[in-house]
Symmetry: none
DNA sequence: CCTGCTATGTATAATCC
DNA sequence: TGGATTATACATAGCAG
């Protein structure tokens, strides 16, 4: 991009490194702005100079959570290098869904193949393994999903049966229906039937 | 930068907006990587697609506080319903393999949906999402795998052509073959042909 | 929907002031 | 040290398969 091609390694000359930093930094931020505008997406760029100065770009329409995080980061660095930010406790959901946890574990181990430090270059072998694991995980997910859909369908059927089959008959029947409705609400099911087309 | 200059405003055509997003996103991340290397500084780029997917670049030598913040950010976004899926372009293998790294992070964030603390009871919705993510990851993995197989096949063909087509003719031809072998070794291909049956 | 190609528009390394 | 200039390398918009 300049008079001649440069090697992709740290520029040793301090002066030209500084010049390049300045030029490329503004170039990067310009690109980020263009991307966010052209494609209507949220983009954030953070550049930390060696002297600790932070240059950033965050498009304005960006979700508040992002800017909050960045703000929090700035605050924390301004105040104290580490510490101060509330740690997010990660605690897996205890019981239920053995299949799911299996799936999660599968996925976890698959992840290691791709991100493990020992793999400088990813090998074909790893992709073969990954493919199998993902396929398995997918099957398990589909199984679980279908089970949920089935449960839901049965509940809905009961509900319909109650509403249509025995209309306005007894009060305690209506009570039963209401209970089912409550279950649905608890589980936060939404637009259940619209999901069916995605099954396969 | 293309056949003609484009206006700096949202690209209305959905298809070309998607294409531009893909191209410019990778361009931006490439620039970020170059800046971090050439100038020896910490750089982070976060891009959120409209579908909620997160593509990011963070140079590996980045100060722990930065990566911690970003990691924490990922967790927080994974936790809320909006589902930003992390697709990290990690430093590990410098060039190439964007797809793979994307896949790895995809898998990682999918895992969060299953193990995240905020999900007391897993919802149908989550399984729908998970299914899609796994399917995507699977497709990406297959794509990458097939690409590797293709490359490898061509190299092997060349090699065979050199060995059979021009047997024992010239020394510098043999040298050519050796070079190809070295490429194979570099990329750590292993047991190539045994993988074929699993292709589909 | 991708993948690849090519003509062009941009970014920028080197240079000059 | 900080711009301005220029020759090149690079990124990418529009197409084609």
């Amino acid at each position: 991009m300049g008079r001649r091609k440069i090697e992709m390694k740290r520029i040793e000359d301090k002066s030209s490194r500084q010049v390049t930093f300045s030029k490329r930094r503004s170039g990067l931020i310009k690109k980020a702005r263009e991307l966010s505008i052209l494609c209507d997406v949220d983009v954030a760029v953070l550049v930390f100079s060696n002297r600790g100065r932070l240059y950033e770009f965050v498009n304005s329409s960006s979700s508040s959570s992002l800017s909050q995080i960045l703000k929090r980061y700035q605050d924390s660095t301004a105040a104290d290098g580490k510490a101060s930010i509330a740690a997010v406790e990660t605690e897996s959901s205890p019981s239920s869904c053995a299949e799911v946890q299996t799936c999660g574990e599968l996925v976890k181990s698959v992840e290691r193949y791709l991100e493990g430090p020992e793999l400088e270059n990813l090998r074909l072998e790893d992709f073969m393994r990954l493919e199998r694991q993902l396929a398995d995980a997918l099957v398990q997910t589909r199984t679980r999903k279908e089970k949920l859909l089935k449960q839901e369908n049965e509940q809905l059927k009961d509900e319909v049966a109650n509403l249509i089959g025995i209309p306005k008959s007894r009060n305690h029947k209506d009570l039963g229906v209401n209970n089912l409705m409550e279950v649905d609400a608890d589980r936060q099911y939404s637009q259940p039937l619209r999901t069916l087309p995605l099954l396969r």
